[in-house]
């Protein structure tokens, strides 16, 4: 059944809330209003104010409340209105949620999910459009996932809600309307499993978030030039599917990593290190990155379009690799 990613997320929340009475939602304007981007629309009507809780505008208290409720045996799913606001609650995530299990030597879990829309393309400016996944992925004790299809949105959300650990679940705003098939029932997608979106023998493009579809567009262009690109959708930023990346690079001998986050300290650097350690002997060319520049996300359409990575850049980087053979 074809559905949008937004609808897949909403339907999965509803399914899980029907299945498990411990699951509840909290956040700013998530109830009666249905969420600023309408992801939780309708859930208040079905589940009522005790399970779809409108909170004050207090990111720290909302996140702390989710942590405390999770520690007491509930399964909170909190929404932070935009991922750009997660840093307000970063202390709760970094110093509380991520460390509780360890701080109790395993005798405590924090089964919570923090959902947040992220990413550029909506002309929303520098405080509503960032890709901050690398900041979160640096934190041991949490998982970071980033679905790009309705089926993955469902599968990763099922995994996130049912996992005993804190999960940051990032929803790219430009993908909410993407349509696709969703499997009925318990189609859980485990963390740390990348998806091969297109098979190819000549170059591996590892991408996440909005750059997956852009990489597929680039792969189509490259095919016209006789270059068969393999496109890998990470799905999980932490943990990374190192095996899938290395297996693909061993097959293709070339690697381009594409993400919408800015360059320095981005997840591409980590992937390059993984490949350097695990498959450097297989590489025929240096590892290339396609990322946003090290700058805030600008507002004006011409500036934002220039800022966001484009398929042409991926095509150009791939073609350049074929001229950069190692001696």
């Amino acid at each position: 059944m074809k559905t949008t990613m937004r609808e897949a997320i909403r339907a999965t929340l509803a399914e899980e809330m029907r299945r498990d009475g411990r699951v509840f939602i909290l956040g700013e304007d998530v109830g009666v209003y249905g969420g600023t981007l309408q992801v939780t629309a309708g859930l208040f009507d079905e589940f009522g104010p005790e399970r779809v809780i409108d909170t004050p505008l207090s990111e720290v208290a909302i996140t702390g409340a989710a942590i405390g409720a999770a520690m007491m045996g509930l399964r909170p799913v909190l929404e932070i209105m935009f991922a750009d606001f997660i840093p307000l609650a970063l202390d709760q995530i970094l110093n509380n949620a991520a460390k509780m299990c360890y701080g109790y030597d395993g005798d405590m879990s924090v089964p919570m999910v923090l959902r947040a829309p992220f990413g550029g393309g909506m002309r929303s400016g520098m405080h509503h459009c960032q890709n901050l996944e690398a900041i979160f992925a640096h934190i041991p004790g949490i998982y970071v996932v980033m679905p790009t299809t309705p089926a993955d949105a469902k599968g990763l959300l099922l995994a996130a809600i049912r996992d005993p650990n804190p999960v940051i679940y990032l929803e790219h705003k430009m993908l909410y309307g993407v349509r696709g098939d969703v499997t009925e029932g318990d189609a859980v997608i485990p963390f740390g499993k990348a998806a091969v979106r297109r098979e190819g023998r000549d170059v591996t493009i590892v991408a996440c978030g909005a750059l997956v579809n852009k990489s597929l567009i680039a792969a189509g262009e490259l095919a016209k030039a006789g270059i068969e690109a393999e496109v890998i959708d990470l799905r999980s930023i932490r943990p990374l599917d190192e095996d899938a990346i290395i297996t693909s690079v061993r097959k293709t001998s070339r690697l381009v990593i594409a993400h919408e986050a800015c360059r320095t300290g981005g997840i591409a650097g980590e992937i390059a290190a993984v490949v350097s350690a695990g498959a450097i002997d297989a590489l025929d060319a240096p590892v290339a990155r396609v990322t946003a520049p090290d700058a805030p996300v600008p507002f004006s359409p011409t500036l934002e379009d220039a800022f966001l990575p484009r398929p042409e850049q991926i095509v150009a980087e791939v073609k350049a690799l074929f001229g950069k053979r190692f001696a």
Partner: protein, 326 residues
Amino acid sequence: MADLQKKDLLELYRWMLLSRITEERMTEYHKHSPLPELPHSGIGQEAISAGTVYGLRPDDLILPSLRTRGAFIFKGIPQRMMMAGAFAKVTGAARGKNTSHHMGYRPAGVIAGSGVVAAHLPVGVGVALAARLQKKDYIAVAYFGDGASNRGDVHESMNMAAVMKLGLVFICENNLYSISTPASKHSGIVDLARRADGYGMPGVVVDGNDVLAVYDAAMQAYARARAGEGPTFIECKTYRWLGHSERDPRDLRPKEEIEAWKRKCPVKRFREYLLAGGHADEADLDAIRAGVTADVDDAVKFAEESPFPPGGEAVLHVYGEGRADQ
């Protein structure tokens, strides 16, 4: 305090003495043989932990602060585990992964804290919210100091707990200093509990060195919290006798101020109350002291003799496998 019998009064005295002697021992020990965990003593503030924990039920939860050593012990963390934690031993907090300052202990209903002061208050909101959603009437009690009271976490937590009428009680230990900074330089008001009015909850100021006054204020707040009427902000005026920690480079507080507060010692004061009221005689109280001293001796010996955790455990339990009750 109408409901307190003689045995309760003596138990309260034992608790305060236990906290006092535990911290004195840690501090003394640290002087000749430095402990891995730097002591941050709450000596002088014992009445607050004792008076607030005594009226709690076993299923209630506490979120202690750095300075509420007594609260951890009174709520049920074994004395040996607490002391071994300060020694960083495998028998201590989380097999040496956590400090005893911020440890959590599920069997006793102690929620782990944070090295970031007041960062546990938002977690307390969630603990109290869980009670509401689970349709249970356990409550949560969160402790913080006057310094921490200025952090935004306190504001967000108090507002959210008040607007949702959650069973969370805020206990502020106002010992008049945020490390070296006097309250007059960190807050624009003298009675921090006045802030409660801005959140729509009762604010109560009590003499934090009077264990029975603390107990009474706490019991009123707990009844309100348990009845679903919402949180209370209890400010306990007190004073810490020692520096911020045993590495405090300079104690800038006036000597005469420290001496004046030592004369208001909560333990001595309660001892005199018990004697004057005929609740106990010298022999009773000396016997309690002997018992507590033996317990602390035992805990120190246990901590000394316990091994350190093996280094390989450093990477265990970063992620949980889930618990049947979660």
